[in-house]
Amino acid sequence: MIWMSWRQFRTQAIVGVGALAVLAAYLLQLGMRIRDSRDSYLGRCQPQGDCAQAMSQFVGEHQNTLLILAGLFGLLPGILGMFWGAPLVARELDAGTHRLVWNQSVSRRRWLLTRLLFVGLAGAAMTGLVSLLLTWAASPVDAVADDRFSTVVFGARNIAPIGYALFAVTVGTVVGLLVRRTLPAMALTILVFGVVQFGMPNLVRPYLMTPVDVTRPMTAEAINEARGLGSISSAAVVRGLTVPDAWVTRTSELRTTDGRALDADRFDDCLMRPPKTGATGTFGDAARCLGELDLHVDLSYQPNHRYWPFQWLESVIYLALSALLTVFGLWRIQRRVS
């Protein structure tokens, strides 16, 4: 059955290895370039003793490239699910060859399990290798940028992508088994995978471990550290508050001392018609006006030292989902059929 799995996977594997080789060469070259760039920044600033600004320039120079790479890498498991997972059973059903292979002396369950494991592990290996290279290439930037928990970056480093790949291939296989036609199965696979990949960082990941809650007084200085004030719904919110070495998962609206949300009219007054005092800072008079109201916000965050527990938790979740889907597929293939 292993030979059979390999023989049927051969063409896809060759394409995959080819793509992997190109990608690996690029990532190695990128990693070297990033290291060279860091060294030249450090070489220029070290004589003066202060490298903070140079380092932020260094991050700025590479962050966009790395972000795009992380985004593209996020698609890889989906592509594997589409092109390796979905056709695994669906193409057999399309071509009618299941009637040939299911009548050899191998039970349908063993046939499915072997092929799924074979392709799933190949997908995991490929994704793992790319993840390893990308993590290595980006590590000088990641060390300075301190954004390892950000949605895109988290899913494109270390071990989490391996779980995604296993999951995507399993989804593809099971969808193919249910839909029974290759093209619709491919489309549905990328759709399902996309929905899960959207839901995971937004709806599940923030709650994988109990977040730390903190109340932060909103003085004028604190407000000036925010990225934005107010929202389209004209609620009294501050956006982009940060906690050092942590991922802020939730920010409450501005609250008064009695714990209630700040009245939208008073917020608007401060925002639109603050008393002119000539205050400086990002939000100037508005920040000063709000600061005098004795406000606070409640923040929830995940400290950065939880990064590895989160990587493992997420991997285990995707692994468990893959296992459940596999069990369903094995149950289904025995009863259903042409």
């Binding site: 059955m1 030979w3 059979m4 023989r7 049927q8 063409t11 071509a95 009618g96 060859t97 009637r99 040939l100 292979v101 299911w102 009548n103 050899q104 002396s105 191998v106 039970s107 349908r108 063993r110 009863r335 059929v337 042409s338």
Partner: protein
Amino acid sequence: MPVAVRPPKHGAMRTADSPAVLHAEHLTKRYGRRPALTDCDLTIPAGRLIGLVGPNGAGKSTLLQLACGLIAPTSGTLRVLGSRPASTPAHLARVGFVAQDTPVYASFTVADHLRMGARLNPSWDQALAERRIAQVGLHPGQRAGRLSGGQRAQLALTVAAAKRPELLILDEPAAALDPLARNGFLGNLREFVAELGASAVLSSHLLDDVERVCDHLVVLSGSRVQVAGDVPDLLAAHHRILAPRDELDRLPTGVEVIRAERADRHVRVLVRAAGGLPPIPWPVEPVRLEELVLGYLTRASESSAAGAAPSAGEVRR
């Protein structure tokens, strides 16, 4: 309403020692509401080359796919070589199946198919497979996707046969072949099955094919088994009688009218007398197999046409 004819079970006595290759009881398969096979009772003894005939849509493919476990029955039981179809790998090894339109892997070479067979079947007979491939003029390096319909059928048959099954099931194996290829395929098949020492079931909508190679016949029509039995027994049990009109009701008991055809003042009647025909005052002639099968098929189509009205009412409800 169509009347299900319980097939005579003559094989039962002869093969009391070896289990039936196929034994169905009240076997029913529906696709949604459409019946594909209705309440079939069927026992096929071992050591035969069985022909399954019937018009398109009669349920032949359904019966064969049930037999190799590709689909599961809606109700009733089916035992193949004594156990549930495709229940274990060991059982899979005992049944070879060539599906309709003979699927093969287009990207595999002929040799790849043999290697697949060798890897997936413990009882694989590589020598037999190679001999047969050479015999039918296939080259190991050829891609299966480039083979002609006849070559593909030969390849599929080789893969099914080289695992040395006890029962070989062939679903319309000759359907895609031109007359010449069909001739060669069927001629070859008979020798080959004899060489294997297996039983084989072969379905076809062409009686010719089946008549040439089979020694046991199952006639399927309107999702029901119309008649089944060894060909010599069937021929011995059926007769054509030329009876005067209006005297048909004087037929002795034990003689069943299958089909009556008017001719002048007489009626040409196809009858079955399972226990031998009692003395009858009218001319009796033997029947040919084709006539016999057509008699049953005509009766089935007439009775289903008569039953069409009530069944339409059923669907509406």
